[in-house]
């Protein structure tokens, strides 16, 4: 039952390897009689991802909260504010709203992810994982895989709700599918932002607090209203922040082009810009996460 893979290690004398401790007594180099091999990168990622996914689907509060909150906001925007908002392009408000709303799922579900990471960080879960013979980065990759799964779940639920409230796509089916793929790519980029927030915040409450940053990104965007309806000083941020860029791309893909949506440039322009943003965010925040989680303090 004992893993015997420690053998190759015993051939390397750890004392020789360190070199510096000249006063090391020879008996220190006693062979390591048993040591565990440790899991590889893929096993570690998938195993830890599974844990976070199970945690979500087996905790009714988490599962219901997200769903109900999403449904509530969608309902209110569709019926309470919807009548007063002119969507700008050739779209009905519900067809304008739902693609934007789907993209903001990335942000809202990220709040939960940040809290979960902070919780694992303060509860000793990450201490255990960091003490195991596994690549530490893989634990974070596992977390991001779990989070993007939850984002996909949130989009599925929101999409279904939107459909019930009258949302229909007008683009080609291939474009609509591309829209979903783009949302997942962007969603994956943002999981790293929320993992970083979770790691640096220290505890779940602080993580929730820091995650309130999602509110301006979600609302000062093209998600719920056309940016042209906002005051001039707000428009530069609203039009250029990444969430708006991604929404413009997804909305154009789903509804048949930028002219239908009532924005400039081509669909391809917004798609490429979204991919650039996603790549940049992934690069920066996965690096921050890795630095933070892998180093020994």
């Amino acid at each position: 039952m004992q893993p015997e893979n420690g053998r190759e290690m015993t051939t390397t004398d750890p004392i020789q390897a360190t070199g510096s401790t000249s006063d090391a007594a020879p008996e220190r180099s006693a062979p390591i009689d048993h040591s565990v091999p440790g899991a590889g990168f893929v096993t570690t990622s998938l195993t830890t991802a599974r844990r976070s996914i199970l945690q979500f689907f087996r905790t009714p509060q988490l599962l219901m909260m997200g769903t109900i909150q999403g449904a509530l906001f969608l309902f209110m925007f569709r019926y309470v504010f919807g009548g007063a908002i002119r969507s700008g392009g050739a779209l009905s408000y519900v067809d304008f709203l739902v693609p934007g709303f789907l993209v903001t799922v990335i942000l809202w579900s990220g709040m939960g992810a940040a809290a979960g990471v902070a919780e694992d960080s303060s509860s000793g879960v990450y201490d255990r994982l960091r003490s195991l013979p596994i690549p530490r980065v893989a634990v974070m990759v596992g977390r991001s895989l779990a989070d993007i799964t939850l984002v996909a779940w949130g989009m599925l639920v929101t999409g279904a709700l939107g459909f019930l409230l009258g949302f229909r796509t007008h683009g080609r089916i291939s474009s609509v599918l591309l829209g979903f793929v783009l949302m997942l790519i962007a969603g994956y980029a943002f999981t790293w932002v929320f993992i970083t927030i979770g790691l640096i915040s220290g505890n779940a409450q602080a993580a929730q607090g820091m995650s309130m940053l999602v509110v301006p990104f979600s609302f000062i965007s093209s998600a719920n209203v056309p940016i042209k309806s906002m005051p001039g000083w707000m428009q530069p941020f609203a039009a250029n922040q990444p969430i708006s860029v991604i929404i413009n791309a997804v909305r154009s893909l789903m509804q048949g082009g930028t002219h239908v949506v009532g924005i400039g440039h081509t669909t391809a322009y917004w798609v490429v810009l979204s991919l650039v943003w996603s790549a940049g965010i992934t690069l920066v925040f996965s690096a921050l996460t890795t630095l933070r989680f892998s180093r020994s303090k």
């Binding site: 039952m1 004992q2 893993p3 893979n5 420690g6 290690m9 750890p14 004392i15 390897a17 360190t18 401790t21 090391a24 007594a25 008996e27 220190r28 180099s29 006693a30 390591i32 009689d33 048993h34 040591s35 565990v36 091999p37 440790g38 899991a39 096993t43 570690t44 195993t47 830890t48 599974r50 844990r51 199970l54 945690q55 087996r58 905790t59 303060s122 509860s123 000793g124 879960v125 201490d127 255990r128 994982l129 960091r130 003490s131 195991l132 013979p133 596994i134 020994s296 303090k297």
Partner: protein, 325 residues
């Protein structure tokens, strides 16, 4: 046998705080070593250093002969850590938790299943194995957490205050679990602020305070280091406690201690039996009726008091964290 842990001048500073302040410690293989000390003594910091969770500011640390500073990833192949707070997942069953950690230790699926079954059986959790951990009692969670650290059969188990916050019965169960591990030949380093726990489980006790080792040895050695025997008197009426203390003051080497819970007065005393009869005579002179009077070896508590000048604080750590302490 070569030492399983060897620390020399281990130092860890967090700004002004010296969590470890030149700690020297050698833990022999094949036995349980207990790190005993009050809150903030540096116990958790030391465990974290051995578990390669933090980098010491200075000093050297070898675990199973491996330099923890240069080859931390090799150290991780040898250890299993159970931290202060149970880190098992409440939304998974006991079995799933153990299988997950077994997979991370590098076992394949089938071996993980077998290892999980074995550990559940051994810790008396076989019947609860398929229940969500959310439904477990605190004691069961701790046992499962211990199980998770040993499911990969590491050579050295690191247990940080394994029984803090448990009720007496759960504590006894956990002690049994730890003892059975040791009989298997697993080396154990545990931290505790309970003297009784160290006394019960450990062959070697290392007393730490302010990030330094202040004494080390077997429980018996430490007790005899404490030096003088202790005379202990239990007056029949609690009104006589103060008067009894006055009597002891006349003969004792140090001011006597009054324990209101047990209604006993005790003081270290030189000269043993001879002084005992003096005490009995003095008590008789003052017409203090006693239920019990006797001479005994000092307890670890008294050893600790003698060494540090303050009693061990047995209150649970308010904010366990790998960063603090």
């Amino acid at each position: 046998m070569s030492p399983i842990i060897e620390a020399k001048g281990l130092t860890k500073h967090y700004g002004e705080v010296h969590a470890l302040d030149g700690l020297d410690l050698t833990a022999e293989s094949g036995r349980v070593t207990a790190l005993l000390g009050p809150n903030g003594a540096g116990k958790t910091t030391f465990i974290s250093a051995v578990a390669t969770l933090l980098k010491p500011t200075a000093g050297s640390l070898h675990v199973a002969g491996i330099d923890a500073a240069t080859h931390p990833e090799q150290v991780r192949r040898v250890i299993g850590l159970a931290g202060q707070s149970a880190s098992v997942e409440p939304a998974m069953t006991g079995r799933e938790n153990l299988q997950m950690v077994a997979r991370l230790f590098g076992l394949d699926k089938r071996s993980s299943r077998r290892a999980a079954d074995e550990v559940l059986e051994r810790l008396g959790l076989a019947e609860a194995g398929d229940r969500l951990v959310r439904t477990y009692s605190g004691g069961m969670r701790r046992r499962l957490d211990l199980g998770a650290s040993l499911v990969g059969r590491p050579r050295l188990l690191l247990l940080d205050e394994p029984t803090t916050g448990l009720d007496p019965r759960s504590r006894l169960e956990l002690w049994d679990a730890i003892r059975s591990l040791v009989s298997d030949g697993t080396d154990v380093l545990l931290t505790t602020q309970y003297l009784e726990e160290a006394d019960q489980l450990a062959r070697d006790i290392v007393i730490v305070d302010h990030g330094k080792v202040i004494a080390a040895g077997t429980p018996d050695e430490l007790k005899s280091h404490g030096g003088q025997d202790v005379i202990e008197v239990r007056p029949r009426a609690s009104a006589d406690l103060d008067a009894t203390a006055e009597v002891l003051t006349q003969v004792a080497a140090e001011p006597p201690r009054i324990d209101l819970d047990t209604q006993r007065v005790s003081a270290p005393i030189e000269g043993g039996a001879e002084q005992l009869s003096t005490v009995v005579r003095l008590l008789d002179d003052r017409h203090i009726a006693v239920d019990d009077v006797g001479l005994r070896r000092p307890t670890l508590d008294e050893v600790f008091l003698a060494l540090t000048g303050q009693p061990i604080d047995a209150t649970p750590d308010p904010a366990p964290s790998a960063d603090a302490a």
